[in-house]
């Protein structure tokens, strides 16, 4: 074994399995669910319904918001001033306290992170990608964001203003990317298909 001169708590413990391959947190949750079910406080259907609810939001909702903002400037104005209310206009049930929409321009690029955990607009975009939760992204996205963007294939010019948003508290963020240059040639559905999750976090920029 390699000698260790630091506490093992410093390691990133994403998954802890026992010898049979069981994940520690899963064992605890399974035991809790079994107790609650035996007491008649919880049914298996309620558990699967809660999972389905967690998994039903996703990129498709975020893409609807962006395509609508590109094609309806009044909507865009409302989205920028009160993101939560504007998202709810599209019948998307937002559970976050506030949604802040930050707009990319030819001179400004925005990047979203959560250095303390994994805060993310989950009621709109669903669960964050695994890299967003990693300690490497959380630390490096504030410490050397331009290097991180380069690894995602985005080489920002030095005269572009990069704004990193640390969603450390109660706000949740969406990036409004710049529309494609041939915006008018596309239907709203086509536009939605051009938008990726990475655009909405800010690790991608051009929508083509």
């Amino acid at each position: 074994m390699m000698p260790h001169d630091h506490d093992h708590g410093e390691h990133e413990a994403l998954i802890i399995e026992d010898e049979a391959g069981n994940i520690e947190a899963k064992i605890v949750v399974d035991a809790l669910q079994q107790v609650l079910a035996q007491k008649g406080l919880l049914t298996a259907h309620e558990v699967t319904a809660a999972i389905a609810k967690l998994e039903s939001p996703g990129l498709h909702l975020g893409a609807q918001i962006i395509a609508k903002a590109w094609t309806d400037l009044d909507y865009k104005a409302r989205l920028m001033s009160d993101g939560r209310a504007a998202v709810q206009e599209l019948d998307i049930p937002v559970t976050e306290a506030r949604i802040i929409v930050v707009e990319n321009t030819p001179r400004v690029h925005n990047l979203i992170t959560c250095t303390l955990c994994s805060c993310y607009p989950r009621s709109i975009l669903g669960q964050p990608p695994s890299w967003y939760i990693s300690k490497a992204y959380r630390a490096r996205s504030v410490r050397e964001p331009r290097a991180v963007l380069k690894e995602f294939g985005l080489d920002l010019s030095l005269d572009m203003k990069l704004v990193v948003h640390d969603s450390n508290a109660d706000m949740r963020y969406l990036v409004l990317p710049e529309p494609p240059s041939d915006l008018a040639n596309h239907t709203r559905l086509e536009l939605e298909a051009m938008i990726s999750r990475d655009h909405l976090i800010g690790v991608a920029r051009d929508v083509t």
Binding site: I100, V142, P145, V163, N168, M171
Partner: protein, 100 residues
């Protein structure tokens, strides 16, 4: 009436609080500019220990020059970082030379 408004220069305090604290170390002692007032929210330091009845505290978004946060050469001077800071972690920049 909130203590700060957009445009105000502020310093982030280092309060040495234990427990569930949402102000990361990298931003403590740093000076920045308030960009937005976000409203009042229950203090996560209270919520984490089951105190759910308040008081609610003011929350601000504050922008910092990346060149001020990190020692690296070559950070473009226009790059910024925006983070949310609760009122009790902030002091006016001019008053806070002796602040923690």
């Amino acid at each position: 009436m909130t203590r700060f408004a957009a445009g105000d220069r502020v310093r982030v305090l280092a309060l040495h609080k234990d427990g569930h604290v949402r102000i990361p170390y990298y931003i403590r002692h740093r000076t920045g500019q308030v960009t937005q007032y976000c409203g009042t929210y229950l203090n996560p330091e209270d919520l984490a220990v089951g105190h759910t009845s308040g008081p609610a505290v003011d929350l601000y978004r504050v922008a910092f020059a990346q060149t001020q946060l990190w020692p690296d050469d070559g950070i473009p001077s226009q790059d910024t970082l925006v983070i949310e800071i609760y009122d009790h972690w902030l002091a006016p920049e001019k008053d806070s030379d002796d602040a923690p």
